[in-house]
Each structure stands twice: as C-alpha cells, then as structure tokens.
Symmetry: C2
Subunit: 285 residues, 2 copies
C-alpha cells in the first residue's frame, strides 16, 4: 500500500492510495496515524469498507509532506559501497550518523528556498519510516518494525556543512529536505532486493544508485540506532546517498536559482522541487 498525507477540502488528512484516488483515513496526517498503535487495523478496516465512491480523485487533493512531525530524523552518511570503494576508501565498521529535526523536512512538491547559501547540493536517498517503538532491537526486530519507505533528498548547504567538522548546520536548514510523495508500506518494496535511487536536475540524471549496495541495510541501521536512542512510530531514518553529488564534481556544481530537482525511487515515487536562491549580499559565501 501507499500512504500519503493530503490536503483535501481545506484540511490535511492521512490517506491510502486506491485505484480511484485516495481514501482518507481518520488521522490528520501520517505522523498521527502511525502514532496510533492500531494503525494497521485502521488501514485494513478502511480498505475493507472501501466503496468506489469513497475515494477522492487525485486531482481534488494536494500531496503534502507525509510525515510532518517525526520526533527524530536520523541520517546516515557514506553508506553506498560502490561509491565508497570508487573513492578508494575502506568500508566503514560503523554507520556515520547525524541528526535533523522535523522542521528540516518539506513537501514532495515544495519550493526549496536558500537564503544563506549558494552552495546547495543534492543527495537522493531512501528513507525508512519506523512503525513501532524500538529500543535495543536486533536487526530482525528492526526489520519487523519498519512501517515503510519513502523518498528523500538530503539537500545540503556545503559551505555551512564545511564550516566546522560537524555536518549538522549544513544539513538542518528549515524546509530543506523534501520527503514523499508517499510511504510505500514494507510489504510493497524491498530495499535489500534493490531499489534504484535517482536524482535529476532539469531532467539531466546526476545520481543513480541501488539500495542493494547499502553497507548498512535499513534494518541494520534501525537496529544500530535503537541501541542508543528509543525510536518511535513515525521516526524517519535516511539511509545515505550514492555517488554523483555536486560537491564531488570537477569543478564542484551546485543548484542554481530556478533549477528543478527531481528525486525518484521507482516503486515509491518522485519528488519535484524547484530551487530558489535568495541570498542577500551580506550572506553570500
């Protein structure tokens, strides 16, 4: 199944995709739906009661950021083996992790506005949505607790990221990380079998990787993180980006005002975000 948070008749609602469009659920968004321990049953009940005339057509709604209020957004860097090996590095023993906040996220079609950086770079990623409370989980327990997967772009302000050794400040600009458009439930897609992760700028492909080459799988990442912090339903884990980011190009390439950034994982969906660079003279890097 594919779950979404939609804007419909002036309100936001959690919804499930059906052939005729979207079936609204009894929660204002997927953060609220997932925080209900019985969300799978609610979904089954709604689908069992589904009559064709209950669905809202796709052209009557707007698809929003599916998870507006995760308590934790934890990201992994350096996680695609082919990219690490091509850079001449050894595979890491532990995942490199950093944090974002709910405010960092934005919608699948939202404009991304940079007011303080002209070094805006792209990082197409698979994101994992936690479906149950998890502490000190094994990889098997973690796998069973994954609600689903979504598409993310860990858009990074490289100048801010490199001001110090800690990446956080370049990764935590408000409304800079688009996610969505839907959460594909865990029975729908299998990252270990392989999902393509693709990034395009104005239609030109700049990144393509496959999640089967992740050093730390979704389940291993979730299990690892649960050793130090308890994860809750609706928390989001970004799994890292494959090769092809702008910072690694010669010369480095950054997103320009007006660029259209597309991030796609076939089987889940596509994010389409227009870039707006509005740096005042005194903030220019």
């Amino acid at each position: 199944m594919k779950l979404a948070t939609i804007q419909w008749e002036g309100q936001t609602r959690a919804a499930v995709q059906v052939s005729e469009g979207y079936l609204p659920l009894n929660a204002r968004d997927l953060s609220e739906l997932l925080s209900d321990g019985a969300w799978k049953q609610q979904l089954e009940t709604a689908l069992a009661a589904y009559a064709h005339n209950d669905a809202v057509p796709a052209d009557a709604i707007e698809v929003l950021n599916p998870l507006p209020r995760p308590a934790k957004v934890i990201c992994c860097g350096l996680n695609y083996s082919e990219h690490i090996l091509e850079m001449g590095r050894e595979l890491p023993e532990h995942p490199t992790l950093f944090a974002k906040y709910a405010d960092t996220l934005t919608g699948p079609d939202a404009q991304i506005i940079s007011r303080h950086s002209q070094h805006v770079d792209w990082e197409a990623e698979l994101a994992v949505v936690v479906g149950e409370r998890l502490a000190d989980a094994t990889p098997e327990e973690a796998a069973a607790a994954i609600a689903g997967y979504t598409v993310a772009n860990d858009v990074s302000m490289r100048d801010w990221q490199r001001r110090t050794l800690q990446w956080f400040q370049g990764k935590a600009f408000d409304a800079s990380t688009p996610i969505g458009p839907v959460i594909a439930t865990a029975d729908e897609v299998d990252p270990e079998a392989g999902l393509e992760v693709i990034c395009r700028i104005n239609g030109e492909e700049v990144q393509r990787g496959n999640t089967k080459t992740l050093v730390f799988s979704a389940a291993r990442l979730v299990a690892y993180i649960s050793q130090f912090t308890t994860l809750q339903p609706g928390d989001l884990i970004l799994t890292g980006t494959p090769g092809g980011v702008g910072m690694g190009m010669e010369p480095p390439r950054f997103l320009q005002d007006g660029d259209v950034l597309e991030t796609e994982i076939p089987g889940i969906g596509t994010l389409t975000n227009k870039i707006s660079i509005r740096v005042a003279a005194e903030s220019a890097a």
Copy 2:
C-alpha cells in the same frame, strides 16, 4: 527568578522558587509554561497573588528535568577560548554545532545508566533556554529572547563519539544529559559578566571555566542558529565545555560505576548524578 518542574502530590507542575519553597504554576512543566506566549504575565500574576501559605515546602516535592519536551536541543563544541588557546588551536570563525533530542535529557538528580559504553566522559556546560520564537535574529534580538539559563552536563560516550567523524551517536544516548535543577531567568544571571562552570567527580574538582571566556556568547549562538532553523520557546542551546574532560587526561579517565558526577554553576544550581555502568560482555568496548 528561578523556575523548576516539580513532582508534587503525584503530578508534575511548573513552579517558581519563593522563600518558603515552590509556588506551583498553571502548567504541567516548564516546556508547557514557555510555550504559552504569556508565560511572563502568568508568572507575575502568580507572584502578585502569592501568600505564604500558597508555597509548597521544598521537602514536599521532587525537582525534575525542567524542560522535558524541547523541540530542539542544539549543542556547541570548542567554545572556551582559554581551553582552545591552551590546546594550541586558533579561535574558530564559526561555532561547531551538533544535535540532541528531548529523549537525551534527564533530571538533575537522575542516575545515568550506561549500557553500551565504558568510556563515559563529562562536559559541564551552561545551557540557554529560548523564550520566544526566533528566526534570522540579530544578536540583540536573540539576547532579548533568552528566557533564562540552566546547568547541563553533555555526558559523552567517547568510544561511540569516535567511531565516525560525526559526534552525534556518542552524544545522543537516551537519558544521558542531565539538566536543571532550575532555570534562572535572564534577569537573574549574566553569562557575559561571568558564571563559573564547575564539574566534580566524587567531590574532586575536574573542570572549572568561566562563561566570560566563551568564544560565542549565548546571544551570538542563538542568533547564529536562528539563521538556519527557527527556534521556539523551550528550545535548549548548550554552550560548550571548558577544559578538563577525561578524554584529554593522560591516561584518559572515564566515569566509573558508582561515581557521583556533580555539575555546578553558582547562581543557578548543582546537578548530582550517580553513574551506573551496566555494559554486557558483548557490548564492551
């Protein structure tokens, strides 16, 4: 004024210290109190109506983590000039920042339990409590928006912190960062004039610094952070630790099972946290 979150008659309450003890306020904790835009007026009204028999004696309550639900906990590293200069480094141009979550915090008298690290180190710090919504603030605006200050210890799992280049995983263990015991309002203490920041283990002083030597003052840090992310009332900014951490000793020294960690800022208060090391054999570093 000194504000606290207290446990009293089976419930938690925001409260203000008065000479006879604590005056409970109309909020379940300081996170809720500060999220009310009229918290200063509520405080004034409560104090104006204060009769001696309204106060709860200190021995009838327990002092809890003052801010149980900040949306953001952002920390600065490498911020004491005397420590940076004694290490032979240059003063940084930008603050080094990393993130914690609300779950990372714990109470001023709570036991700190380490189940996955035997390299538990101390970092006594001044923490800044944001009192108003702030985006793209000047240092002057930031200074005016500071609700107050509290004591924190950024207890760090050095083995996890050093597994990768990003410190986050060693800094974000659940219930590892004690804060409190009170929030001293901004009219009560002045970090730029100088507050001593002291850490003791089993009574032995291991750290002593003064906030007047901070490279980035509280107001500058808050203003800087507000350039990339909007701060909300109740958000917490940790300002960094002075010299004297265990990792810098020869040989390195870490907290042992049963140690009592005291963190004091005269004028605000003292945290007293007993350390419990409960590492299973397979997790031992």
